[in-house]
């Protein structure tokens, strides 16, 4: 059994009323809501009682019609005032007097029906189906089902967003990490079980801790892949709280998991399997906790000629990287000093002759350069320097550079 609630300009009231009686409802138009009442009889009584209860709940003058299919309920609510109750199987008879102007059809079909002299549903419903199909095509067949009350369709229901959130109010403040983790573990077990029952995972964990005499401590964990393992999530929260502990004792814990479709993977026989995603995520979190967030990841080269310009992205990276041709033999690699080491360079005939930097003191026996490089002159990252590749008397190959403006020398790295 379906109900149509019709009241011009009161959609919010109609939706609120529909939600009270059933989780399955459709916002048919700006003035009408269709409700699936299957099973509602067990909770709210007979259909007449349900219709009365709906009218009282809406509060304003509304047309309410109950019928065996949703479209028939809508046409009846549009054409009749007050409450209309039609038992299943009686739709055709009830719809006979509904004016044809309420039928949703194309302008051409409406013109044809007008030309035939029809003005009610009943007149159209009396025609043979084969004739309508021959003259009006598929649209005519669909219209015939509507006017006869035979259009049994499913509602286009509105999905109410589900929330996976739980709170715990503590009887006494918690100041230590261990008991906090115990409570978080309990919450995560329940929330992850709820996610799994809905065939969902989570890609964001939001934790809010109400503190004693201090502002609320919040943290948000954004996961690169959806997970539903409470142990992994607990470990990530532990690392996060260890790095940024709350400033005071905790009075209340609020934990929310953002639902996300679970990750689907298609393994490939010819592609090497990488680390397990959950294990990798925990490992990366442990590394970040040990070394710092900027020290772990996949390197990504920036689109600039500026020396040593890169960023760290989450591993594994997904930046579009042009594949250079594979070198035929190992390439000469530069081992950088970060930061570059200040040096004193003595020149002879405009070429470096001697280098002193920290413990390094040696003569230059071969030098290639200078290679002028500059850029970013329009911002604070500007650079302008002359680079040299030098071989020192100790046999080591270095890259040096001289800043053109300040004439300071630096050792950028060693070739190896």
């Amino acid at each position: 059994m379906y109900a149509c609630l019709y009241a011009e300009g009161n959609l919010a009231l109609l939706v609120e009323c529909a939600r009270y009686f059933s989780p399955r409802y459709e916002e048919y138009s700006a003035d009408a809501v269709l409700v699936d009442l299957r099973g509602a009889g067990l909770l709210f009584g007979s259909w007449a009682e349900i219709a009365d209860a709906m009218q009282r709940r809406i509060g304003v003058a509304a047309n309410i019609a109950l019928a065996g299919d949703p479209d028939s309920a809508f046409f009846l609510a549009r054409s009749r005032k007050g409450i209309t109750l039609i038992h299943p199987g009686e739709e055709a008879e009830a719809l006979a007097s509904v004016p044809l102007r309420l039928l949703p059809c194309s302008s051409e079909t409406a013109a044809v029906l007008h030309a035939w002299g029809f003005s009610t549903f009943g007149e159209l419903a009396a025609l043979p189906a084969a004739g309508i199909a021959a003259r009006l095509g598929a649209e005519g067949t669909a219209l015939l089902r509507l006017v006869r009350g035979e259009n049994n369709r499913q509602l286009r229901t509105v999905e109410t967003p589900r929330s996976f959130r739980d709170d715990i109010e503590l009887e006494s403040p918690v100041a230590l990490l261990e008991p906090l983790l115990f409570l978080l573990g309990r919450l995560l077990n329940e929330l992850c079980a709820a996610l799994m029952r809905s065939a969902l995972s989570t890609d964001e964990v939001r934790l809010a801790l109400t503190l004693e005499n201090a502002p609320t401590h919040s943290c948000v964990l954004r996961l690169p892949i959806p997970l539903c393992d409470p142990m992994v999530l607990l470990k990530l929260l532990q690392l996060e709280l260890g790095e940024r502990p709350p400033a005071a004792a905790i009075l209340k814990i609020s934990l929310e998991l953002e639902p996300a479709p679970p990750r689907k993977t298609q393994h490939n026989l010819f592609v090497a399997a990488g680390p397990e995603p959950q294990v990798l995520e925990v490992t990366l979190a442990k590394l970040r906790h040990l070394l710092g967030a900027d020290c772990v990841g996949a390197p990504h080269l920036l689109n600039t000629h500026r020396p040593d310009a890169f960023s760290m992205q989450h591993f594994p990276g997904n930046a579009a990287a042009p594949q250079n041709p594979f070198p035929a033999q190992p390439a000469l690699a530069l081992r950088r000093y970060r930061p570059p080491k200040l040096a004193q360079v003595t020149k002879h005939q405009e070429r470096p002759a001697q280098v002193r930097s920290g413990a390094l003191r040696a003569k230059v026996i071969a030098a290639a350069g200078p290679w002028r490089t500059s850029g970013d002159w329009w911002n604070t990252l500007a650079w302008n320097r002359d680079e040299w590749d030098v071989a020192l008397a100790n046999g080591v190959l270095y890259r040096l550079y001289e800043e053109v403006g300040s004439q300071r020398w630096f050792v950028e790295g060693v070739y190896d």
Partner: protein
């Protein structure tokens, strides 16, 4: 004679029940990761050391091995104790940077060891490189044999080629393969440094079926 007869009787009665104890266990030959230099390969599931002074070509050799691994879509990790990895050099060597986990340890050898342990325990990496060449040699020497054994055991468990790059050998008997690099020749042509030629001397592989080779000269 009585002893040998008794021994045969014991073997006959026990060998059906305890076959493994009475049969010769052959260790399977480990798969190897190529380096781009002929006959220099890094076996998986073992600890290999590549060592040499600065500008001896060891870094270029390791980057070439990483390039070959990442190009076949294997994940690799570089635990950079001295924070000296140059992403441009890595790209030019052919490394797919998206497949490389770079762990920067800011000149802290202790953190580098912990990081290498975490990465090996996670598993799933075809090659894990621990670059100790950027830290002072005295710090690298202080790494205990127990730590090396632990790392080697972790590499065996996850079947990763664990390669340690350093200026001198430190892992002792824990390493299955040792490759020493020495600079042979620098190639300067006019105002350009073309590269260098280096020698890779490969030490004997312990418990491996393949014979070792001596000198391999390669250019970078």
């Amino acid at each position: 004679m009585f002893t040998s007869a008794l021994l045969r009787r014991v073997e006959t009665s026990l060998s059906p029940k305890f076959r493994k104890s009475f049969s010769l266990q052959e260790r399977p030959v480990a798969a190897c990761m190529p380096s781009g230099v002929q006959q220099v390969e890094f076996p998986r599931g073992t600890l290999a050391e590549i060592y040499g002074p600065a500008s001896s070509g060891k870094t270029g050799l390791v980057y070439a091995a990483l390039a070959r691994a990442t190009r076949v879509a294997d994940y690799c990790a570089l635990v950079d104790a001295g924070d000296s990895f140059d992403p441009v050099s890595g790209r030019d060597a052919g490394i797919d940077l998206n497949q490389l986990l770079w762990v920067r340890c800011a000149n802290n050898a202790e953190h580098a060891l912990k990081a290498a342990d975490l990465v090996l325990q996670a598993g799933g990496f075809a090659m894990v490189v621990l670059d100790l060449a950027g830290v002072p040699a005295s710090e690298a020497r202080r790494i205990s044999l127990t730590s090396w054994f632990r790392l080697r055991h972790a590499a065996e468990k996850c079947n990763a080629a664990f390669v340690v790059v350093e200026e001198e050998r430190n892992a002792g008997s824990c390493s299955t393969l040792q490759v020493e690099t020495k600079q042979a020749e620098r190639c300067f042509e006019g105002a350009l440094l073309h590269g260098l030629r280096a020698d890779a001397v490969q030490g004997p592989r312990i418990r491996s079926a393949t014979p070792y080779s001596a000198l391999q000269r390669f250019g970078i």
